[in-house]
Amino acid sequence: MIRFERVVKRYPSGREALADLSLEVATGEMVFLTGRSGAGKSTALKLLGLIERPTRGQIVVAGQNLSAIRRRGVPAYRRQIGMVFQDHKLLHDRPVWDNVALPLVIAGTPRREIDRRVRAALDQVGLLGRELGLPVELSTGEQQRVGIARAVVAKPPLLIADEPTGNLDPDLALEVMRLFRRFNEVGVTVVVASHDLHLIEKLGARCIALADGRLAGAADG
């Protein structure tokens, strides 16, 4: 599903976030990217979402070479992946329903179908019945689950999450991680960046450890 080939990412500031990183994730796999902050986890995910472009090297996702995707092709590519962010990136002036429906509205899904799938996605994250609430009326954990519902509502084959539990207490964090596990069980490839090794141990999935933008050694969890 995902292949990084000798990827280098140097930011304009001169900081080298990734230095010659190569890795592979199989279709249907669930993988944790671990490492200290600054190890390159976030950068790797940004490259996957085409939020950043690599300085050197190649990234192939679902058979598509990302360097071949031009600016105009980026939106269509992003619609194939679900992204979850540490800061949720919700629209705070719009109700939960609108937030979750956004990817489907963009894709031009018929209205009735949108309604059905938004409810299904909210049901999966345990927030059915909260459609009309505004994000600010929800707890941090609930906001993160709205973000997850939005990421999965269009049924993307790949789900990537950057520190999705960074702001959550341990119980909520475990709950969110189990949610990702469930999506993985129905066939979605999941890549989660997290520094919380404690939590990762409980879930049992492959870990790819990064250090200074390189592979620190892959281990089966």
């Binding site: 939020i51 950043e52 105009r72 269509a76 619609r79 002036d93 963009i106 031009g108 018929p110 939005r150």
Partner: protein, 326 residues
């Protein structure tokens, strides 16, 4: 049978795709209107500025149109003065007047003898004493000709050709076309009208800039929303769409307020101008914008707003990318 079924479902699929597209656009159209309504003060300001900018060329155009109506009124009451050669006997003059009066394109012809002409001149010139000093009557006899003007076709060309025909008659010294100054007036009106076109173009540009700038501010205010939309796969055109409709509403709102302003002016001016016209014995009435002008105003204002938004949004939305803040 099966083939027709396939075609039917094909048609239905195209139909539902079309109605889906239509539904999405209608939704954005209404949503962007709702967004403007939620910030009534700012919206009213923008619309007011556009309205004033558009009211100016519309008002000037109306001025030209009304002046034209007045000029046409004058043109319908045109007279030709045919001056006869001084040596022509009065009796021949009367005959000539009769001959001219019998023409198909002449409504009436009246002989004004040299003596009558002098008496008339003395009456309104106030130069009576000076005229007494003259030995001979310096005025020639004249025939005042009222052309038969077909209603609506009373243009200067018909009258000019009539004048040429009269000039060729024996005994005629010269023909004076009283239309000359009316024609000059219409020429001036044409020049003014062209100026109105230039003013309209300039103020149209102003509307583009006003809407463009407003949309730029709107985009700044909705930066986060745009970033998030792009993150979840919103294309440039998807992100741009609500702003285009916003621009359209600004423009249309401005057009409507311009129309109201102009109508207001007309209402205010109708009374005084009507009194002036009545004083001059004219039935002239001020014309407000007709249906065509109104449609043109509203259509072009909506289009200008859309275009201003298009240029501005295309330029500024490009700069907003989710990665830029990292």
């Amino acid at each position: 049978m099966a083939e027709r079924g396939a075609r039917d479902t094909g048609v239905r699929r195209v139909g539902s795709a079309l109605s889906g597209w239509l539904e999405r656009h209608l939704q954005t159209l209404v949503a962007s209107l709702g967004r403007l309504a939620r910030a009534p003060f700012g919206t009213a300001l923008t619309i007011g500025v556009i309205g004033v900018a558009l009211a100016l060329p519309t008002g000037l155009e109306l001025l030209v149109v009304n002046a034209r109506v007045v000029a046409t009124g004058w043109q319908n009451a045109l007279d030709l003065t045919v001056y006869l050669k001084p040596q022509l006997a009065e009796h021949d003059g009367a005959q000539l007047a009769e001959r001219i009066g019998a023409r198909g394109d002449v409504a009436s012809a009246r002989l004004v003898s040299a003596a009558e002409g002098l008496a008339e001149f003395r009456r309104w010139s106030g130069l009576g004493a000076a005229l007494e000093a003259l030995k001979d009557n310096p005025l020639p006899a004249a025939i005042v000709v009222e052309p038969r003007v077909v209603q609506g076709a009373g243009d200067a060309a018909t009258v000019t050709s009539l004048a040429a025909a009269l000039r060729a008659l024996p005994g005629v010294d010269q023909v004076q076309l009283d239309t000359e100054w009316v024609r000059r007036f219409t020429t001036i009106l044409d020049a003014v009208r062209r100026t109105v076109g230039l003013v309209a173009a300039l103020l149209g540009l102003a509307v583009l800039l006003i809407v463009g700038n407003t949309i730029r501010l709107d985009i700044d205010a909705r930066r986060v929303e745009i970033e998030v939309t792009k993150l979840v796969g919103g294309s440039d055109s998807f992100v741009r769409r609500p702003f285009l409709y916003g621009g359209f509403w600004y423009g249309l709102g401005g057009g409507i307020s311009a129309w109201l302003l102009v109508e207001g002016f007309v209402l205010i001016l109708t009374g005084p101008i009507g009194r002036v016209a009545a004083a001059y014995g004219s039935g002239f009435e001020v014309h407000g914008p007709d249906l065509e002008t109104t449609m043109l105003l509203l259509g072009s204002s909506g289009a200008l707003g859309w275009l201003g938004a298009f240029v501005s949004a295309t330029r500024h939305l490009r700069a907003i990318e989710p990665g830029n803040d990292a």
